[in-house]
């Protein structure tokens, strides 16, 4: 169980590298026209999407609370 946790913890870093790579590619291959707007917008958009995902992912990595409900019916 601990091994899976450690590996999932690295997912965040792995995706970060992926996003950083994508950002690098965007920087290099941004269209010549309106280059600054392309670079800034795509990279910033990627970064914010990554941050949002990473925060959501991390918040559920080791939750202190487990879902609880009393309206479930046991399966037959």
């Amino acid at each position: 169980m601990t091994t899976t946790n450690i590996s999932s913890s690295y997912t965040v870093i792995f995706v970060f590298i992926l996003v950083a790579g994508l950002s690098g590619l965007t920087w290099v291959f941004a269209p010549k026209q309106n280059q600054t707007v392309w670079r800034s917008s795509v990279i910033l958009g990627l970064a914010m999407c990554y941050l949002m995902w990473a925060i959501t992912y991390l918040a559920q990595l080791h939750p202190l609370e487990a879902p609880r409900r009393s309206d479930l019916r046991p399966e037959a």
Partner: protein, 812 residues
């Protein structure tokens, strides 16, 4: 031609150019420059009164033409004749002779249309009079007919009347009674006044006119009454006439004899018939004249408006002493100077004296010019609405393109609502050519101009909706859940899921419908908003470093940026780090009590050195160090810059002192120069007073430290609004569509149809439009206040080049 600067991260580099144009061609040159839409002219005659400038006469003439055009437009509007809008291609430079033609033409048209209007108006007046006369005669006829009818039942009154009617012509008939027409509203007043004045000594009869009478003065149809008044005595009749006239009644002489009356009526009818043919003809003439005008009016107007703009610009220019050449100064983007020079060269190839373009060296601050396109335009205008960036400082409009819609999406996150928003935005974007040419009302216009903002807001809302796992408040199970429910339990027993993994993308679907779902999403969204806020503020703060480096202001880097960064990161960076660290630790595995981060932060300030529940080892030392660092930053921020500037000031003052002693003669002329420039419109004067600098820095320090706290707290609105949005949409679901599934049979079908309509319309109106607007305003505030205060000076003036665009925007 050199490649143009993109000018969106910083405003474009501007140059001050000076233009010497021979007087004969100066108008043409300015005209061509207007077509380029490149130069913002400086007013070189700011001390000269508007009425004493060089081209007042020309401008007055053109003003008169514009007035005439407005008159024509007014007449067209009144007759609801549409003005033709051209996709007009005008000559590159309209020759002056053509302007003269336009002036003459306008005068001619005004005269002709004015005459036609006058004559139709007088015809209408005549028609009104005749109609009223006709109705008065009819009313008198009616009156006599009913009151002297053949019923044989003659009382005193009717006997008198018949006597009156059969009177011989020899007697003056006009004095027997007064008849006329009056506004229906004034009938009562007339009757009352007459009653009081004549003490009841009269006979009064009034009758409603069968049709409304057109009043050419007010151009409306008015309901009127005819009246007949009998009394006796010439003086009294005079008095009655005066009263009637004071109430705007029109009096008509009607013969008391029946046969004369019928003659009069026949004659009036004949006149009326003739008149209406004449009236029709003159109306037709007027309309065809106006229709002919409507075809070309806007084209003429455009020509005249351009001419006027050219002269207004030439009024800003100066002349050399011999008045042989015009001198103009203006700001132009540096990379456009070559365009300017080639255009000018093309235009004056035949001239013996060439037009000269000089680039001036200046200390004046140029205007701010960000090059925008249809995509960036709306984002730029969001920032410009708050303040125009100082020349060459980082343009907040660039990061706003992403951060504004994203901050919105954090509050608005729902896949379904985002999808609706995207659809609307896509419609606007894909049909932008068609919609752009249409005339639409103000609110649609706003939505249209912000269509790319809406599109990004919609797309990001779909993304955050996926992360929140909300689709119209319902959840999706896209990936395998990280929670497993126990299989062996009794019905209605409370069960707790056990963790088997982590949901890969977004919020685990197992939380949806769980009793404690709010407990989790509450904590998750609060931390999310703090982390996103912290990132947004840090990102914005880095721009201040970029600015300081660009303006080579080392004192600001050392005195403002570094202490500010340490203060902010030491407290809120540390808090953010702790949040992430706490998430990454498996507290159940190591068997420790997870610490409350809020209490940790509070005790870090109130009881430094004590840690109630440890997050990591050595925490107390780290926290005390950070606290001391933050405390150290305050005096650093407060004192470094003012003291440094004071030293510099002292040194300058000393040097100045030496200079003053060495060349006292030069000083007087220097002073005169300074006096001269002091009056100039955009010369900047910074105060070099230590007191001012100190006060400024004290305010900055207090503001910065307090803002670090309050702005972080302010980002909690992301938490509140996203929770509220999710709750509202789930409540809407259960109150409407969710409830319809419990019905069965035909009633169930009916309920589903009705409740679906209700759910959809409320989703669009309340959740998408209203909630969307509120989230947008909150996002706007986060940008204007929380983000832009970290780096934005906003002391620039907007670049407004002289051009011919939108001269007629308020006309057509």
């Amino acid at each position: 031609m050199p490649e143009k600067e993109e000018a969106v991260f910083r405003s474009a580099e501007m140059s001050l150019v000076q233009l010497y144009a021979p007087t004969e061609v100066s108008r043409d040159i300015i005209y061509r420059i207007g077509q380029l839409n490149l130069i913002q002219f400086r007013d070189l005659n700011s001390k000269v009164n508007e009425f004493q400038r060089s081209f007042v006469k020309e401008l007055r003439r053109l003003d008169n033409v514009e007035r005439q055009f407005r008159f024509l437009k007014h007449e067209l509007d009144q007759r609801e004749i549409p003005v033709k809008t051209f996709p007009y291609e005008l000559n590159p430079v309209v020759p002056e002779s053509e302007i003269d033609e336009h002036v003459e033409n306008a005068q001619l048209l005004e005269d002709r249309v004015g005459q036609l209007i006058d004559s139709t108006e007088s015809l209408y007046n005549k028609q009104k009079e005749l109609k009223e006369l006709k109705f008065t005669i009819q009313a008198v006829d009616n009156f006599f007919a009913t009151n002297t009818g053949p019923s044989g039942d003659l009382d005193d009154e009717t006997a008198l009347l018949s006597q009156l009617e059969s009177q011989t012509v020899s007697e003056s008939h006009s004095a027997n009674f007064i008849s006329g027409v009056i506004n229906r509203e004034k009938v009562g007043t007339l009757q009352q006044i007459l009653w009081r004045v004549l003490r009841g000594n009269l006979y009064y009869h009034s009758e409603e006119l069968p049709e409304e009478i057109y009043d050419p003065k007010s151009k409306t149809h008015v309901r009127k009454n005819s009246f007949i008044i009998f009394s006796h005595g010439t003086i009294i009749y005079e008095r009655i006439k005066k009263i009637c006239e004071s109430l705007d009644a029109d009096l008509y002489n009607v013969n008391s004899t029946a046969s004369y009356r019928s003659d009069q009526l026949a004659e009036t009818n004949l006149k009326l018939r003739d008149l209406s043919t004449v009236l029709d003809e003159s109306e037709n003439a007027l309309t065809s004249e106006l229709v002919a005008i409507s075809r070309d009016l806007l084209k003429w107007w455009e020509v005249v408006a351009r001419e006027k703009a050219v002269y207004q610009t030439m009024n800003l220019c100066d002349y050399d002493d011999s008045r042989k050449s015009l001198i103009a100064e203006g700001w132009i983007p540096t990379d456009e100077i070559s365009t300017l020079t080639t255009t000018i060269k093309e235009s004056d190839n035949s001239q013996s004296i060439p037009t000269i373009v000089n680039v001036l060296a200046t200390t004046r601050t140029p205007p701010t010019f960000h090059r925008t396109n249809k995509f960036t335009e709306a984002f730029q205008s969001i920032c410009d609405a708050y303040g125009v960036a100082t020349y060459r400082e980082v343009n907040p409009g660039l990061p706003t393109i992403i951060t504004f819609p994203f901050m919105f999406a954090i509050m608005f996150g729902d896949l379904g609502h985002g999808f609706l928003l995207t659809l609307v935005a896509l419609y606007l974007v894909l049909n932008e050519k068609k919609i752009g040419g249409m005339k639409i009302d103000e609110i649609s216009e706003m939505a249209f101009s912000g269509r790319y903002i809406l599109l990004l807001m919609g797309v990001f809302s779909m993304y955050t909706g996926l992360l929140y796992n909300d689709l119209f408040s319902k959840s999706m199970t896209l990936f395998s859940s990280g929670w497993a429910w126990p299989t062996d339990f009794k019905p209605s027993e409370t069960v707790i899921a056990s963790k088997v993994g982590t949901y890969v993308f977004g919020l685990d679907s197992a939380w949806h419908g769980a009793e404690n779902a709010l407990l989790f999403t509450n904590s998750y969204k609060m931390k999310l908003s703090i982390l996103m806020g912290y990132s947004h503020m840090s990102y914005s703060f880095i721009f201040s470093l970029v600015n300081y480096v660009h303006f080579k202001s080392l004192v600001d880097i050392i005195g403002n940026f570094i202490p500010g960064l340490l203060f902010m990161q030491g407290i809120f960076g540390y808090l953010s780090l702790c949040i992430v660290y706490k998430w990454s630790v498996d507290w159940f595995a190591i068997g420790k009590q997870p610490p409350g981060l809020l209490n940790m932060l509070i005790s870090m300030f109130l009881a430094p050195g004590t840690v109630a529940e440890e997050l990591y080892s050595g925490q107390a030392t780290v926290q005390v160090t950070l606290l001391l660092l933050a405390l150290l930053c305050v005096p650093w921020l407060l004192l470094f810059k003012p003291l440094y500037l004071k030293r510099q000031l002292d040194r300058e003052a000393q040097e100045h002192h030496y200079q003053q002693l060495s060349n006292e003669d030069d000083l007087t002329s220097d002073d005169a120069d300074e006096q001269d420039t002091a009056h100039d419109d955009d010369e900047e004067h910074e105060s070099h007073d230590f007191g001012d600098i100190m006060i400024h820095q004290v305010i900055h320090t207090i503001e910065f430290c307090l803002n670090c706290v309050s702005h972080t707290a302010s980002y909690l609105r992301l938490w509140a609004l996203s929770l509220a949005h999710a709750q509202l949409s789930s409540v809407l679901w259960t109150m409407t569509l969710g409830g319809s599934f419990s019905f069965t049979g035909p009633l169930g079908v009916f309920m589903i149809v009705v409740l679906f309509a209700m759910w959809l319309s409320m989703t669009v109106c309340i959740l998408v439009v209203m909630e969307g607007t509120s989230a947008m305003l909150h996002s706007l505030r986060l940008h204007w206040v929380e983000s832009m205060s970290k780096f934005f000076e906003g002391e620039g003036t907007l670049y407004a080049p002289f051009g011919f665009k939108g001269l007629l925007s308020d006309v057509a």
